[in-house]
């Protein structure tokens, strides 16, 4: 093999290897840093790139996609001295490949440690109840602090989420009991309140009914009294009418009335089913005869006056003040 043969092969190989060294295809989602004699010069973006072989070389191949890293579980002591296990996740993205490559030695580890210490300081300043109920606030505070801290590394933390907060088992059990007691308390109070309400309603009903009854009675009494008044009025009027009638007419009418009433009363007595023997006072018969006598006298007295009255009415003149004696 001649020298030219070897030279030809060597040149061909050199050019091929130089091409391999100089042509760089960067895949989407990555940025490559270029170092010239070990010093960072530029960043290659995705696509076809040419570098000068022998001078330049690819330094770091940086993932520019958003990445998630697990924050391992750690013990956090809360403000009220409960020890809880906390773990989480952090999402970050590299925006400046050069800074992420050279400003920090171990990027992922740095983020993990930074987040862990911040979790401890943020959550350590809260008591357990707040910690369990304010996850959003915790996440936000963590994000604010960590994002500001990683800024010099050319990355941005988009999100930090506390995944799990695990209080010790006995504490969980106590919390369960507390919750149960709370519910039982609420149930009891509700029941008592219901009972109170129902009893009040019942009493109110009874009161109302009594009032209504009393009102009814009052009304009835009023009406009774009115009825009695009306009856008395009617009686008075009847009496008046009778006396007027007597005044105008014959005294015999009075006698007739009294005798009629008397006999009717007797009749009722006689008809009474349990009283067949009628005891009459001895004076009754004499009273009857005296009644007849009174009738005679009254007839004699009022009869003339009545005749005179009639005569006067017939004549149209005023009757004399003293009637003539018979």
């Amino acid at each position: 093999m001649s020298g030219f043969d070897i030279f030809a092969i060597a040149i061909a190989l050199l050019i091929i290897f130089t091409l391999f060294a100089g042509v760089k295809t960067v895949p989407q989602g990555f940025d490559w840093t270029i170092e010239r004699f070990g010093k960072f010069t530029r960043t290659l973006s995705p696509g076809l790139n040419l570098i000068i072989p022998y001078f330049d070389r690819v330094g770091r191949k940086v993932n520019m996609m958003e990445q998630v890293i697990e924050i391992p579980e750690q013990e956090v002591i809360t403000k009220d001295n409960a020890t809880v296990g906390v773990d989480g996740v952090a999402f970050f993205q590299v925006f400046d490949a050069a800074k992420a490559s050279y400003e920090v030695a171990n990027l992922q580890q740095a983020i993990v440690v930074l987040t862990m210490t911040n979790i401890r300081s943020v959550m350590g300043s809260m008591d357990l109840d707040k910690m369990l109920s304010h996850r959003d606030e915790i996440n936000e505070r963590l994000l604010r602090v960590v994002d500001a801290a990683v800024a010099p590394w050319g990355i941005k933390v988009n999100r930090i989420e506390i995944k799990d907060i695990a209080p010790p088992a006995d504490l969980v059990e106590a919390m369960g009991r507390q919750m149960k007691a709370e519910r039982v308390k609420r149930a009891d109070i509700l029941q008592a309140e219901g009972q109170r309400q129902s009893e009040i309603l019942r009493a109110e009903g009874a009161k109302q009914s009594q009032i209504l009854q009393a009102e009814g009675r009052r009304e009835a009494a009023f009406r009774d009294a009115e009825a009695r008044e009306r009856a008395a009025e009617a009686e008075a009027k009847a009496t008046e009418m009778v006396s007027e009638a007597i005044g105008r007419g014959d005294v015999a009418a009075l006698n007739y009335f009294i005798a009629d009433k008397y006999i009717k009363a007797f009749g009722q007595l006689a008809e009474s089913p349990n009283q067949k023997v009628i005891m009459l006072p001895l004076e009754a018969s004499s009273m009857l005869s005296s009644l007849a006598g009174i009738g005679e006298i009254a007839k004699a007295t009022f009869g003339e006056q009545a005749a005179a009255n009639q005569a006067a009415r017939r004549a149209g003149s005023v009757p004399p003040t003293t009637p003539p004696r018979s």
Binding site: A8, L19, T25, L48
Partner: protein, 147 residues
């Protein structure tokens, strides 16, 4: 190897070229296609003029080197509008959008809430609640101006 080239003559280059192109399909992106093309070209050329194999080898190297600028031109020609120009460039996509300041900008630095995360922004000192427009994005740092 040299003897093999000599005995098989020009066909070697064509076979070599096809082989390289096939390898490119198996392991894409490592320039083998262009080497294959160069080998193919040398093979075709050696049908017309028959230089010595050493010259053929040099020709191959020259063609391979020449492939680089050609490839570059091809790569720069856009086969159509990029459907997603902001891929992996999240901040560039924010330029022109208007947000309400979460906290006041003090000493040129403030915080804006964007898509359920927070972004640190720099700009003129304005109170919280001001509407600001993102005018410039450089990596993870955004510059805002009062909208």
């Amino acid at each position: 190897m040299a003897e093999m080239f000599v005995t098989l003559g020009t066909w070697n280059w064509l076979i070599f070229g096809v082989l390289l192109m096939a390898l490119e399909l198996l392991a894409p992106g490592i320039f083998l296609f262009w080497l294959g093309l160069a080998a193919f070209l040398v093979g075709m050329l050696s049908f017309i003029i028959t230089p010595g194999w050493q010259l053929q080898m040099l020709l191959f190297a020259v063609f391979a080197a020449a492939a680089v600028p050609i490839w570059r031109r091809v790569a720069q020609q856009k086969p159509g509008a990029n459907p997603n120009p902001f891929l992996n460039k999240r901040t560039d996509a924010l330029i022109g959008r208007v947000f309400t300041l979460d906290r006041p900008i003090v000493d040129g630095a403030g915080i804006v809430r964007v898509d359920d995360t927070i972004w640190r922004v720099s700009g003129p000192d304005v109170p919280a609640g001001t509407k600001v427009k993102i005018v410039q994005a450089d990596g993870a740092s955004l510059t805002v101006d009062v909208a």
